[in-house]
Symmetry: T
Subunit: 143 residues, 12 copies
């Protein structure tokens, strides 16, 4: 089973950016961990990141050709991108939305997600562990 973990804008700064909200682990550390966790569960995890909305759409469209599902943290695009929503609706593989922080305990504009209605499910608030839960949830829904 092949899984794409896709990180949206500013997640490349993980570990350096507002650590009181996003934690101290860097993106490379996190990715290493996710690949390892994936292995344990019998899944081959590939990780990508981009700050570009268009690049994220390209990657998602491409993912339908070589993965069984996607773990997606859309970052700031969660609240503003109809184009990403359409991309997720257009590909036929399951996408799980994850967030590191509890977005509902933050600014009002972060409470609305354009992405959620077309995802398989959503996990938020458990720090880097949100991703691990996401991988598990994805594997479960594919099975």
């Amino acid at each position: 089973m092949k899984i794409l973990v896709l990180h949206g804008p500013n997640l490349n700064l993980l570990g350096t950016r507002e650590p009181e909200i996003y934690g101290a682990m860097t993106l490379d550390d996190l990715n290493a961990r996710l690949i390892e966790e994936g292995k344990k569960m019998g899944a081959e995890v590939t990780c990508k990141q981009s700050n570009h909305e268009g690049a994220l759409i390209d990657i998602l469209q491409d993912a339908r050709l070589w993965t069984d599902g996607v773990i997606f943290n859309p970052g700031g695009y969660t609240h503003t991108s109809v184009a990403l929503r359409d991309a997720i609706a257009a590909i036929e593989i399951p996408v799980v939305e994850v967030h590191i922080s509890n977005v509902y305990a933050r600014e009002e504009f972060r409470h609305k997600s354009l992405i959620s209605p077309v995802c398989a499910g959503k996990i938020s608030g458990f720090g880097w562990y949100s991703y691990v839960l996401g991988i598990q949830a994805l594997i479960e829904s594919i099975r």
Copy 2:
């Protein structure tokens, strides 16, 4: 480690109620499964259900005396209960909000949760498996 799984209104009808949304498993089956999953992860799981907002508050208040954390599916009260929100904020143990269905793919009024801002995190859309992920997330945050 002791964990309370608390089911809100109408979840006692699980398996008979709109199975295309909530699945075919009954609440007793689900509870048995969660207790077993808890055991595997080294946690003693207790399950309760009530249709009464006040009873749910009573149970949550009481839980702070004998559990390490709560998995809570507030059902229809998710969107309307400030009193439940206050109860969660008042007790000091972590509470994880779970939903069986992807509430964001349903009616507009289900998109707003009064409960989420005071929970540790939120998981929705993975059917009964949302609860399993919730237990895992809770154990992780307690550790």
Copy 3:
């Protein structure tokens, strides 16, 4: 044919509460009249009342086991209860929403009903006679 007439919060005060809005008949008088009207139409009417949202949910869930349909005046919960809405959607018997007063000629917040979309139909404004029309409508839809 068995019919449940279910009165929501504050309807136990009927006859004593704001008689210029709700009329001078007491709840006991009303219930006696409805049982009699039911008999004329060949239906066995049972009447219950509760001020507790949770108790109303319990009664509705239970009703699906022994009635053919429900006449429901949700009182103040009409405008605030997603949990009651979910209960009505969950049981498979028809529910007719009735109101004594013309709720649309009162405060703005009384114009919105969370209950109506999942009911078979709605009758409001005809005083205690709204219930009689409700019983008739229910019998008609069951037939």
Copy 4:
């Protein structure tokens, strides 16, 4: 006792228009039935229909001279016509608002009625039987 049954816009297409919403009975059949039902209850029922907002106002104004009350299905004008509302408020006879479908289970803009606050009461969701209930309710309020 004389009663006017007034049908608003598009109700002349009854039986041919979206039968899954409005049923298969034609307007002529319905009117015949209502006249008969009226007779049973001791009321002389007259039926009119118009697609013209102005004509409906003319008919309502005229009705105050020769009827004891009106059963009115304002159709699409329910949600948009202040002029019809003013006409109902201006005549002194009771008007009962009826709808064939459960308007609350349809589009958001159908949930708001400008007409309801000035009517005696409202009945919706029981198909053609809504009219029969309306006649009964009207006779009851006149008595």
Copy 5:
């Protein structure tokens, strides 16, 4: 100078309709008075009334061929008719909006006028005398 006084829906009921709001004078009395007042100011006043939005548009369009300006009480269409607004914008003669009652002391939905932005001016709240002021204002603006 030729002036059209155009009365909208339900104004034909003047004197019989809610006299505490609209006064006790009938439409015929009012028209007689306005014709007389017009004469005093050197204007030939013609009065028309219709309950039909379309007829009001026809009359307004026609008025541009034979009048110097219009006094218009759009009644309930004030708040809902874009088509009447477009008609007023389309003809090149000045239109003065008048209201018998103080619409701002009544229901919220009466506070918004779609007509006002395209009129020369607006007079409301002075009973039948609003029309007299309107005629004067119109004559003043034409001069």
Copy 6:
């Protein structure tokens, strides 16, 4: 193939009304042109206009008996008429919504159309040529 071109309120003033928005061609000229364009494409075009919402409903209802489709410019009723929307939904022939001006570059209240969701498609902003494109689009969808 038979096509109805239906013009809504104030379009009879075409050529005289605000020519900087609606152009200098009169309605008769436009209709002559559309009949000719229709002929070129093998369609028999009939043109009607009314300022009356009710008359437009009558015409649309009637059209289902003798045309294959309708080109409809609802004018000011676009933004306010649920009754016209219901008429379009009730007849089974395709209706194409056209507008002479770019309604989105005008007042806010012109941006919302109650008609569009039940039409086959929408064309706006190309002056009288919007109608020609509409005829073509309609013929294409019928084929």
Copy 7:
């Protein structure tokens, strides 16, 4: 009969301020004219102006002791002052609201008046002549 004409903020700049909206007459000219018009109608007109909300309240409160009614142009305070509204409601003499420009053809925030619901009536859009009509309307209502 004694009448106060009260001008609100920035009206002292009349004739110099945005003459395309407010006209070329100065406040002194206007006041002279109003005194003269008042005389013709048998009323003694006094004119005051202030840019201070509090001073306007003081003047209105004082007016109830020596005038029979007030013509009030509240200028920019029309849309923002609850305190002025309360002052008008508190004094028992009639107040007529006037505006030089057609406020409804200007910015959205000028369409809402906090003052109108407690005034006898409202006149807007006729330039300086709005005041003359106001005096006439006031005299008419006092009689």
Copy 8:
């Protein structure tokens, strides 16, 4: 004189719950103090608490039979309960709404009270002393 002090949801946790907002005194301490304060003012104070909306309604309804007035802290139900509002409107004794914290300095949703319009008055922000002021205010209004 007999007074009921009624505490709503989560107030049983007083002293343990978020002491920076609600203070360090327990509910038992507070009740003892209120009984004593009542005595000083010549009133017999009885204290009750419930987390159940329905139970609070039951208690309020019952109170009209044996008290002269109620001090009510509706807690989280303040912002969501039409049923409690209806109960207060239905009983004829005065009810004073009290809050420990300054609700207006907290989350937006706490600024709106469904209860206030039907209460005699409201006191908020003075910690436990809000109750003492409430008792005094109640005694004053009864006298």
Copy 9:
């Protein structure tokens, strides 16, 4: 202990203004009473009133130099004045907001207070006695 009682706009009319809302006591009577009540509680009460927003700000700013706290009835400025809010936030002494009437039982726009979030607490609905309670509450918070 020195206390300022500050009355906002139109409160100088107390006793003459809408007595069914504000009571029959004049401002002088009220002030005399408050000074006396203050004395009983060991506080020296000074009373001021102004209809000028700016003067109220001046007085509040000055109060921080010679009082221990303020009782403030902001009248109509409650709902519109950010400047007064800023003044209260800027001075370091406690301010208690009081209202004579139950503002929540009046017009919608009176339900929102810009002042409350920066005050120590709020008392409304108890007539002139609201001030007495306010003085007590203020003394309690200073102690």
Copy 10:
């Protein structure tokens, strides 16, 4: 005459993406067809597609140097991109907005277009044929 047909995000998936909404034709087929249709009408059509908002802006800016006008389907960016709107306003050539589906029959957020006010016109709902109509409309406006 040179025309650019510009496809926005996810349109590269045409034919594979939700064919019940977007049809079965691939983007290459569509482009071939449009080039051919263009030729028939005497226009040289060039087709581009990008998922990147920034790239679409680059292409539009560049288009002003070598085309006479643009057919633009902005896809999901229609509803969210002020930057694209600014680009269209900045270049001086006409841009025609086209949509394959009837966006008004879909989710609420698709009803609002930031792009429309700065385009020459808009065509939606006719499947791939929307583009053909767009080319024709563009050629007509350029002429």
Copy 11:
């Protein structure tokens, strides 16, 4: 060149009021500094302050007679004063809006300025230095 620096409500407390937001410099110090900075740039700076909306209007109106432009910090009136906005629009000299704090990082109601649309430009967030930048910007625009 003559410049007026006008400070709105509560700015006289500068240095004593919430120094973490507004800084520690007093108004006199600030004014001294601005006069000196003005001199360097060849401008004669005069400074005024008032807590009175009306006084600020008076000063602005007067300024058009003796200054070349104004630096204006409207304080709390920024968000509520149409009268000040009208004053700025009425005088013909350029006005630059300045704020000490970053108003966009504070309460929601501070994000909306009624003043900005009629000013030459706006500078906020740079502490007392906002004024210096304002003077420079003003001199630049006058040149």
Copy 12:
């Protein structure tokens, strides 16, 4: 001291795009001027521009490694980009938001900035000179 001047979408068209709003200077001219102005103030200014939201994020993230602060004109992304907001919050250097035009005198949707709350300050409306003021403000805040 090193400063980045970052221009957002469509600013590469400066001088050619709507010169009545944005002025006649080209981007190259502007950049040359800013570099020179920077030099005068002892700062090394580097200028970049992109139409790509993602590229702007990349550049901002990179800037934290080699600059002391940023002058940012986010163009159309000002109103729609949470991702850019997050990038500014994530890097620790000060960012000053600048706009050439007075955005508050333009369309409603340009009044809201998602960027402002996380910037050091904001300058708008002074044409190209906004940038010069921005550089000065930035240098001042760094010092």
